[in-house]
């Protein structure tokens, strides 16, 4: 029995699901299955009814309605499988009308009321397979109210649209009410469909938007976590570097003082000599030198962290920029170590006095000039130029020298960074540029590397003259 039943059931399921090609479970799928099921029902229902009709001896022309069902029901399935769902649903409605009509004749009553209610039920069911509640309720209300109204006019005997009296013109009523009802149903189906299409389009939009937003958010998250990792790595790198930088002068302090101690222990009145004492003194001096280096490193580190937490430590006053730069150059040149280069200074400013923090500005200029000296060839010229750029006052320092390798350009402002273009013998803490770039920002400007070209490395510091009004009053605590 099952062997016979299963293939039939499978074919029915096959027929009922023809035309289903969307995503499983969508509103579209359910409508397709619903329409196909009704079409199948139409086909199967016709035979028992037709048999009964023939048995009762009712004339064949009245049975034509049933034969029409036999045509419209397969058509519904056919159109559905071609994805022409709107036509398919119209076919189902026509089939329903014919069934109602035939039923009226069969039962020998006025059929109008019966088939109208039948159509109303079909439409309501169609409405209810829709996904969205507003569409379901809207379509249901339209179907019920429209058809109930029509039914009322039918029972008064006057056709609502053509105005024909159904008693006087039975044939015209037959034709025109069929047309009118078809039109009415088409309109309702159309409204319902356009609603659902709008809704589906919105849903699709929402889906696409959601996808885009999810992608954007994921990208943001990835970026944020990468940044956090990078920041964390920078921090650990900073701590590792700090440890390394602090241990180096400590080695000098401990080492040289230990050496001095050893030498002193070996010293006896017999082997005493001036040279030996001088040697010990030198070792103590070197230990002190390293201690001073350690101290300045600690001070700079403190300064770095202080400026990270307090951005507004600026104490401005009036000063002459040209004189300040000149005195920095003189100081630098005064040092024995720095006499191998020529420094040329030009000022293109119309004015020389400025209101800003001269201590910070001096530190920046000193750092740039000392760096330029350290990193340039013997006998080359360093060019210092003071000029105006809009509301900023800039000072550029250009030196001919080692240049900065391209892959290091990004890092030169990082703490403890020292260019690999030179060896570490140039000295320094590796914090100078980091600090100076902070100072320049505090003075309303910036410190930039303009050209890392090996021929001419150019650093430029720009500051904005501060507003005197803001600083003339003591700030409220």
């Amino acid at each position: 029995m099952r062997k016979l039943f299963n293939p039939i059931l499978n074919s029915i399921i096959w027929l009922a699901t023809r035309g289903v090609n969307g995503q499983a479970g969508s509103a579209h799928d359910r409508i397709t299955i619903f329409v196909n099921s009704l079409g199948l029902f139409g086909i199967f229902a016709v035979f028992p009814i037709a048999g009964t009709l023939l048995q009762k001896g009712i004339p064949i022309e009245n049975s034509l309605y049933f034969i029409s069902v036999l045509i419209t029901a397969p058509l519904a399935i056919f159109f559905n499988s071609r994805n022409q769902h709107f036509v398919a649903r119209c076919m189902i409605l026509f089939a329903s009308i014919y069934i109602g009509w035939g039923a009226g004749i069969f039962f020998g009553k006025s059929f109008n009321g019966h088939y109208i209610f039948f159509v109303s039920i079909i439409l309501s069911l169609t409405a209810f397979v829709r996904e969205h509640w507003s569409i379901r309720i809207g379509t249901f209300a339209l179907a019920v109210s429209g058809l109930l109204g029509m039914d009322y006019f039918y029972h008064t005997g006057v056709f609502p649209i053509t105005g024909f009296n159904s008693i006087e013109f039975p044939l015209s009523t037959l034709i025109f009410d069929t047309l009118a009802i078809s039109g009415f149903i088409s309109i309702i189906t159309f409204i319902e469909k356009s609603f659902s299409e709008k809704y589906e389009a919105q849903l699709e939009d929402l889906n696409t938007n959601l996808e885009t937003r999810v992608r954007e958010r994921t990208e943001q998250l990835v970026k944020a976590s990468e940044e956090a990792i990078a920041a964390n790595m920078r921090k650990s790198q900073f701590v590792a570097n700090t440890s390394h930088e602090l241990r180096t002068p400590l080695q000098g302090i401990l080492g040289f003082s230990q050496l001095a101690d050893l030498k002193l222990n070996k010293l006896t009145p017999e082997n005493f000599s001036k040279e030996k004492v001088e040697k010990i003194q030198e070792q103590i001096r070197r230990a002190q030198g390293n201690a001073n280096r350690l101290l300045s490193l600690i001070e700079r580190l403190l300064e770095l962290t202080r400026f990270e937490s307090d951005e507004e430590r600026v104490f401005p006053s009036h000063f002459n920029m040209k004189d300040l730069i000149k005195s920095v150059i003189e100081e630098t040149h005064g040092s024995e170590y720095y006499q191998k280069q020529k420094i040329e200074f030009v000022s293109q400013l119309d004015f020389e006095n400025i209101f800003s923090d001269q201590v910070l500005y001096r530190q920046i200029i000193t750092n740039l000039i000392v760096n330029a000296v350290k990193y340039s060839h013997e006998g080359s010229t360093i060019n210092v130029k003071l000029f105006q750029e809009g509301e900023l006052i800039s000072c550029s320092v250009v030196n001919q020298g080692f240049g900065i390798p391209e892959d290091e350009v990004k890092e030169i402002f990082e703490p403890f960074y020292q260019s690999s273009a030179t060896d570490r013998r140039v000295g320094g803490t590796g914090l100078g540029l980091t600090l100076c770039s902070k100072y320049a920002r505090n003075l309303g400007g910036s410190l930039d590397l303009m050209s890392p070209d090996p021929e001419a490395t150019e650093f430029k510091v720009s500051i904005k003259p501060l507003n005197k009004e803001e600083y003339s009053l003591p700030k409220a605590a």
């Binding site: 390394h244 050496l259 060896d423």
Partner: protein, 120 residues
């Protein structure tokens, strides 16, 4: 007396370590401020013991140690790594490249002295 080679980019450290042995009269001491220089000189001088820094411009101390240990002469050289880089992974890396001793700066001068003198 062992032949000593000192490699450190801090000239202050070169001076310091050299001074530790300066009283040993027949001891040869060579100082280099970069790993590359030390490697270039290695075959000629073939030292018995080497005090080696890690963080240097050019080749790091790890790379220098690895290259030296790969040489026929170098396998006999005692390599003492002295670095300011702290951390377990630094020491582990030092062992991996085949160094004989590892010291974190600041190193005790007497300890370093004995370590060098033991190599013969």
């Amino acid at each position: 007396m062992p032949k000593l080679m000192i490699v450190d980019d801090e000239t202050s450290n070169l001076d310091l370590f050299r001074e530790l042995f300066v009283d040993e009269e027949d001891m040869t001491i060579e100082c280099y401020a970069s790993g590359n220089d030390a490697l270039d000189a290695f075959d000629n001088s073939s030292p018995d013991v080497m005090i080696l820094d890690v963080m240097m411009p050019g080749k790091t101390g790890f790379e220098v140690c690895e290259e030296i240990k790969a040489k026929a002469k170098g396998s006999k050289t005692k390599v003492i790594i002295v670095t300011g880089m702290a951390g377990d992974e630094v020491e582990q890396k030092a062992r991996e490249v085949g160094c004989d001793s590892f010291y974190l700066k600041p190193v005790d001068m007497m300890e370093l002295y004995n370590e060098v003198m033991e190599a013969q």
